[in-house]
Structure formats: C-alpha cells, structure tokens
Assembly symmetry: C2
DNA sequence: CCAAAAGTGTTTGAAGTACACCCATGA
DNA sequence: TCATGGGTGTACTTCAAACACTTTTGG
C-alpha cells in the first residue's frame, strides 16, 4: 500500500460497485498422491447439477475481499484432505487460470466463473471422507481417467463417451495441464521428495519417478544424481528393516533436504 | 458442453446472480521487446487515481461473459501496441494470476480485483502512442526499474523510495515474475527467435540472449547448439550485406523454425 | 594492413547411458 | 542356496566450456 495523501481517494467515491458484472472466482485443486506405486488424483463425485454424477476436482469459491486465491487454496485443501496444510508444509503451487466464459454452464444465468488451478503434492494421503456437497470422494489413478480423450472431447464441445469416469466442467483439461506440470517439474526440481513420507529410501524416491513418469530411471545413475545434488536428500544413520516377507539388504534412510532445484536437470525419456 | 437432459437446468433458475459479491477480472500484459540490444518492457504512466503518476503494466478488464482472459489479452495487446496480434502470431502466454485482496486499493470500495498476467514477446516494436487513459507510454529498460527493491517495498507494504520510475499496484512483483519466466524459458525453448525480425543472423539471435541474460553464451558453442537443434532456425540462401560503417563477413540469414523446445536445454550461468 | 565481425576446429572435462557386478537378508 | 532388493564400479559416449584460429569485409 502506498501512503495516503489528501484527496487521493476521490476515485473510491466515484466507483460504483454495480458497474462491473460479477465474475466468480474459484480455486480448483489437483491433489496428487502416490498409492501402491500408482499416481492418483483426488476427485469428488458431484451430487448436484450442473454435472451431477460427474467427477470434479475439489475446490471452492475465493472469499470475496477476505483472502487471495492462494489462501483459499490452502483453506480448501485443508478442508478436503482433513489435514492442516499450513502445518504440513506440503507443496502447493499455482498452475494456470481458466476463464473461458462457457467453461461453467452457469454463464447462461450470467455468472462468469474464473478458476485458478493449483497443484498439491502429498505423500500417501489417507482415503478421504466425503464433504458436504460431495456424494463420494476418492483418489483415482490418473491412468484410469482417459485424460487425452476427455480433454479432446471438451475441446470439441462434445460429450465424452468412454469407460473412464466422466470429468465435470473443463477439469480434464485442468488435470492434464497439472499432470504435465508435475511431470516436468520432477525433471528440474526436488519435488519428488514431497511425494514420500520421511524417512524414505532412495528406492522409495525412485518409485515416485516410476509412478509419475511411467518408467524408472536407471538405478545407479539415479542414485548418483540424487546424492550428488547438494541438499536434495539428507542421509540418516538408520536403516529400514527388510520387509518380513521379502529378502534384500536393509536400505539406508534419508530425509528431505532444503534444495529446490536439480541442476543440471534429469532427462526424461519422452518416448518412454 | 454436455448434452441436455430434461430438468437438468433447474439449478440455473435457482441461481441468484447477486449471491456472489463482484470480483473484477483483469489482464496485465508484460510486453517485452529488445531495443538497441536492451531488454525493455512497455509501461504506461497513469493519468488517474489510484496510482496517478505511477507506471503500470498495460491491460484491462475481461469482458464479462464474452471472452476469456486469453482473448482479452490478445485484444488489449493489439490495442496497446497498435499491431494485430492474431495476425502477427507473436508469442503470448499466461504467467500467473494475482488475487491478493489489497493488491488494488479499490478493495476499500468493495471491489476485489483479480488479474491474470501474461507475457508477450515481440521483435523491435515501434514506440507506442499514448492510449486514452494513459498520459504516457514507453518502453523502459528493465534494468532501470529497480525491480527487486520495488518488489520488496510492495511486499512490506511500504512506498518505494528510489530513483527508478515507481510502479503501480503489485506490478513490480508481476513484472519480475514475468521477467524470470522469460529468462528461464530461453533456456529450454526456442522463444528467443520471437524477439528478432525475420530474416535474422545467428549473431542477432545471440544478442537476444545477451539482452535477456545479461551476458552472451560462447559464440562457437551457441552456434553449434542452435544449428544442431532441429527446427530452431531455418537457413536461407541469403547473406546480409555488411554494415556500411563496419567490416566483417556478410552473415548468413535464417528464418524461425517450427521447433518449440531445446533439448537438452541451454545452461544459464546464474552467477551472471 | 588493420580492425571488426562471422564462422571453424580442437582439446579437455563433466556428466549421462548401459550394464556387469557384489552384498545383505529371509525363506 | 536361491530369490530379492540394495548398492557399487566402470567403460563408453555425448556434449558443453574454453579458446585458438581462419575468413571476409570496410577503411
């Protein structure tokens, strides 16, 4: 805020709140977690029109005049997952903003809904409990959502006909954008460590890449790269006891480091 | 859009447009161009309160119900630069969305303004003519804007005291985010070619990196990298005549290729 | 001939690829 | 002892950094 000078606020009196037709501002959350080695996203089955029975990204309205979209995202995230995100300190970042007038059918009643999309990562979240306006909530493996086809259908303004759970609004578009962001970000950031619970092994971390990219980087090279990036992981003195049903040497346990970036980045095999 | 089923639209009748307090949705444009080897951004000196006399990013309101923010950005861009951006095909992309309630003082009159920021790149734009609500418009070298200090001042809610032209609203924050996006994107994309007029020489292209990064990559390595990236540039058969006042061999001229990405990326020397 | 700009060649070292190999543990 | 998973060693290759060098032009 700038300092006040006399008469500076004349424009405020002249401003007529009714002069601007209402935009609604919402946040949509792409909450990713890895369950049993599979990358999943939290979706909520809508209990009301519009898109009753479709699956939607969790989210909600930004509280007018009282919070930013970033704050709304944290608030909704805590509500949807039942976890205190400010304490958890999990990763949350803006991806993009979606403002196409007919992305929400309520445009026909004069409501233009703009939505700021976020991506959140968390290790192994518990199964959600259904919220107030949600008939069901669950983590869906992203592979099962047929995102390319659903996004193409939305783009062409036709209904998606397929076996995957149908996504509401433009959420197939949003989700695939968010997914690509996560995939790209594993290349040049230490984001993967946000997907595992501490303490973790390097094999755990490598399984994150397996789940997100669909293939695992070469074991030896992966270890070297991670260990040579200062601040990516911090070794402990502890070893994880081998699982009771399997053999194998007890692996060394690590904690997350403070580094944000990997330089030079991992190379992702795009054919892969 | 999905197909209609009877009774599906009941929710529309139930919707009360007044139930949602008004958000205003605007776009802010970071229009970068290189003039005389210096990276500059278009700013407009405000003629009215709020922030009268401050310099602001060009932009404007998204037309409610009639366009997306992307479309509004193209429209405003064409208006501000006097160039038909849809024809020009210059680069335009979303950067981030800024929604802090007190980023615009009109929040005190109940108007919560959310702004979607874009970055646009163009080769050598002409000097702008002042628009309707702008006393002056000009391209400022980004080096002269003291962005770090202005951003810090905004963050701490204190007035910027310095020699650089004062930026309105949170535009120092937006502009520095946009600048960092451009700097990063030169590493892994062919964006630099959007900054030069066709046909161009490899030295022209290298001067883009000089202007944006503040230093020039090694000549020989730069040439190898550009020429070995398929579709970055397309050679012509023409040579540019040497300048009349200087010596030097006539350099080969190139056109932009169709490739979007450089893989593996350039490495930027972050120390500078 | 000199300066300036374009363009080439070469050496060196860092880092990724691929894959063979060893180690520790439980059944 | 074997299967399983963790972890190491190493040759090969690719590519960027650095810099010396040649070529073509104008004065």
């Amino acid at each position: 805020m700038t300092t006040h000078r006399p008469g500076e606020d004349a424009y405020l009196a002249a401003y007529d709140a009714g002069a601007f037709p209402p935009f609604a501002l919402t946040v949509d959350l792409n909450i990713f977690t890895i369950r049993d080695g599979v990358l999943t996203a939290l979706l909520i089955e809508r209990g009301d029109h519009p898109f009753k029975g479709f699956w939607a990204l969790p989210g909600g309205h930004v509280e007018h005049g009282r919070e930013s979209a970033d704050e709304a995202a944290v608030r909704e995230l805590s509500e949807e997952t039942g976890l205190d995100w400010t304490r958890l300190g999990g990763h949350l970042e803006q991806v993009a903003t979606y403002t196409d007038p007919d992305r929400d059918p309520r445009i026909r009643a004069g409501l233009h809904v703009a939505s700021v999309a976020y991506v959140a990562l968390a290790p192994n979240l518990p199964s959600p409990t259904a919220g107030t306006d949600a008939a069901r909530a669950r983590f869906w493996p992203v592979e099962d959502l047929d995102l390319d086809a659903q996004r193409a259908a939305w783009h062409d303004r036709r209904a998606y006909r397929g076996d995957a759970p149908a996504l509401a609004y433009d959420h197939a578009l949003i989700l695939s954008d968010a997914l690509e962001r996560v995939r790209a970000k594993l290349e040049y950031s230490t984001l993967a460590a946000q997907f595992v619970t501490e303490p973790f092994t390097l094999a755990d971390l490598r399984r994150v890449y397996q789940a997100v990219w669909g293939y695992a980087p070469d074991l030896a090279n992966f270890r070297r790269k991670v260990l040579k990036t200062p601040g990516f992981v911090v070794p402990t003195e502890e070893y994880r006891p081998a699982a009771s049903d399997r053999g194998g040497a007890p692996p060394l346990l690590y904690l997350r480091g403070t580094a944000q970036w990997i330089n030079p980045p991992f190379v992702r095999d795009r054919a892969g």
